[in-house]
């Protein structure tokens, strides 16, 4: 998507990651700002299903034409799904970072961590 957008149903981490929290699970990805800064993504290397991700720690790498960057987990939990379609079409992270460009799904180990994240308005303000 060409224009900046930060959906209101997501929670945001200052390292430009989002979490869509649904019950005890969350879908994670990178924000519009992150994909715009990275430039065109050419490779995504996700974690293993069953592994643990820890809030504020890197759990995966995205490679763009500019650089390889760590992806930081906004919340902690066990990986229950990895977006396999990104292997052939990593450009989905640029084209649609919140829907088809999602990265992983986790089972939350501490749902209260979500309270530390920003809402859409606070995150957008942090980018100014």
């Amino acid at each position: 998507m060409a224009e900046a957008s930060y959906p209101e149903d997501l929670k945001y981490h200052p390292e430009h990651d989002w979490a869509r929290i649904e019950g005890g699970e969350a879908t994670l990805g990178i924000t519009w700002y992150a994909q715009d800064s990275l430039g065109e993504v050419v490779f995504f290397e996700g974690p293993e299903i069953g592994s643990e991700v820890t809030k504020d720690q890197p759990y995966a790498e995205v490679e763009s034409v500019k650089a390889v960057s760590d992806v930081v987990a906004p919340v902690s939990g066990e990986v229950i799904a990895v977006n396999e379609s990104l292997a052939d079409a990593p450009e989905a992270i640029n084209a649609d970072p919140y829907e088809t460009g999602w990265l992983i799904k986790i089972r939350l180990s501490d749902p209260s961590e979500a309270d530390t994240l920003m809402d859409s308005a606070a995150y957008a303000a942090s980018l100014e």
């Binding site: 800064s37 430039g39 050419v42 490679e63 034409v65 500019k66 990593p90 450009e91």
Partner: protein, 507 residues
């Protein structure tokens, strides 16, 4: 030739053929005269034993001499190089390579020496290597130099293998190597290759190592800190003495990435700053041509505590009575061993020693002073006008040999990215600076003008940037679609990374 489009030049549409594709069966660049009267042809299997003969002829290109000359001349004209124009590629020290070095390296005694020659028949070559070792030792302020590593990257790996050998010898087994987040990408790569874990250290507001962050990460599991000083932001780290004692007190070694040595030759010495291991890129500071993976050298200089472990053999100078004899010393029981066959790329050593001797100590000091002066002049020029507005300096203070600008305001206000500016610079006859490095500067543009460029070149470069920014205020698409005048237009870098074609398809 196929029809060209607006996004392709005629040359781009007509893909460059390889020399193999130009091959025509039976065509020759040279013809041997017929055998004279009474001379008989000897069958090849009488000259070469059967088990060494090929079963199939080698697939060599069959072309005429003019085709060979035109093919390579055409390829060379498609390049932008130091003989073409200003090449301010940051962190690469693209200085002009004096022709004198080439002449000296091409002398038959240098160029035709067989690498297996016995030391007694290669005294001149060994003396030359010894002199280069001594020169680099003086420049780096460390007592011992090994010329074995054949690239900067191999120098880094050698340095980390030395680090491991040093700790092993003390019965220790630390597992971590610290690198600042501004480090060259090769640093963490070498660390990983040597089997260590990379731990990143943050950068402070002045662009140097964040000493508090460093303190929080130092313990007895740290094998080494790898540092470039001045660093990749072009900033000299004034806390180096404190950093050095912090690492040494924890039992670790200090590694100096010599990539930025061009800023401090004859001014400051890594050995005096407390570094234990330095690799020197002869292709940067010492005017060896940068060559796409071609013959190189990345000598390492080491402190006394690391000396027992350096690669062998080492070139040594022995005195027996009045006789001086240069030799290869294999008697180094703690050595990490050989890093390559024979003694290194000798022509590289000749060029670098020729450069060092022709400038002399004063000349090298002046080269560094001018490299720093040129960088500060250009930084000042680019802080004025539109460049100052759209391309602010990251970490604005006196720089060393290079500086980093951020294209973030340019991207936001004009809609052109650092990559677009870089591509448009090609149309003005300049090689672009390094882009998107270091990573911690948004839309980074890293400029290293080096000492061999005149003030008029620097002014012309600053004016080109001003013109491009002015042009983009009116029409951003000009830069977005650049370049227009190069042999090939904007390349599909994303496609090349996502779907690389690593083998040319022969039609």
């Amino acid at each position: 030739m196929s029809a060209t489009t607006l996004t392709e030049t005629p040359q781009q549409a007509d893909r460059a053929k390889t020399i193999y594709e130009k091959s025509v069966p039976g065509r020759r660049a040279a013809q041997l005269p017929p055998l004279g009267e009474g001379i008989n042809e000897t069958p090849i299997d009488e000259l070469i034993p059967a088990h060494l003969l090929r079963e199939q002829p080698a697939e060599l290109p069959e072309v005429s001499e003019p085709e060979i000359i035109r093919h390579y001349n055409r390829l060379s004209r498609r390049n932008f190089d130091l003989d073409t124009g200003f090449y301010p590629l940051g962190s690469c020290t693209m200085k002009y390579n004096p022709r004198l070095n080439e002449r000296v390296a091409g002398l038959p005694g240098h160029a035709k020496l067989h690498p297996a020659t016995d030391p007694s028949d290669a005294q001149g070559a060994l003396q030359l290597m010894y002199l280069l070792q001594e020169s680099l030792s003086e420049i780096t302020g460390l007592p011992t130099v090994s010329l074995q590593p054949s690239a900067g990257s191999q120098g880094e790996l050698a340095g980390l293998l030395l680090t491991r050998a040093y700790h092993d010898d003390q019965g220790r087994n630390p597992t971590k190597v610290l690198t600042p987040d501004t480090a060259h990408g090769t640093n963490p790569a070498s660390v990983t290759m040597a089997g260590y874990e990379v731990v990143k250290v943050a950068t402070n507001e002045q662009g140097g190592v964040d000493v508090e962050d460093l303190k929080s990460k130092i313990d007895d599991d740290v094998a080494c800190l790898m540092l470039t000083n001045p660093n990749t932001l072009g900033v000299f780290d004034e806390n180096i003495a404190e950093i050095s004692s912090l690492v040494h007190d924890a039992g670790g070694l200090l590694y100096y990435d010599g990539a930025n040595l061009n800023a401090i030759m004859g001014q400051a010495r890594p050995g005096d700053m407390g570094f234990d291991i330095v690799h020197v890129n002869l292709h940067k500071s010492f005017s060896q041509p940068h060559g796409g993976g071609g013959p190189g050298a990345g000598p390492i200089a080491v402190s006394g505590r690391v000396e027992p472990f350096i690669p062998r053999p080492q070139v040594v100078r022995n005195e027996i009575g009045d006789e001086v004899f240069f030799d290869l010393d294999y008697d180094r029981p703690k050595s990490i061993g050989r890093l390559r066959g024979f003694q290194g790329n000798f022509g590289v050593f000749v060029r670098s020693l020729a450069y060092i001797l022709s400038l002399g100590g004063d000349g090298l000091s002046e080269a560094s002073r001018l490299a720093v002066l040129n960088a500060n002049y250009l930084k000042q020029r680019l802080s004025e006008g539109r460049a100052g507005k759209y391309l602010p300096v990251a970490f604005d203070r006196h720089c060393m040999h290079e500086f980093v600008l951020s294209g973030a305001p340019m991207k936001k206000d004009l809609g052109i990215k650092t990559l677009d500016l870089a591509k448009r610079l090609l149309d003005f006859g300049f090689h672009p600076p390094t882009v998107y490095f270091p990573l911690l500067v948004d839309e980074a543009l890293m400029v290293e003008p080096v000492e061999t460029e005149a003030k008029s070149d620097l002014d012309a470069f600053a004016e080109a940037i001003e013109s491009i920014l002015e042009e983009a205020e009116g029409d951003a698409t000009v830069a977005q679609n650049a370049p227009y005048t190069t042999p090939v237009r904007r390349l599909d870098e994303v496609g090349a990374t996502r779907k690389p074609v690593i083998r040319q398809q022969i039609a």
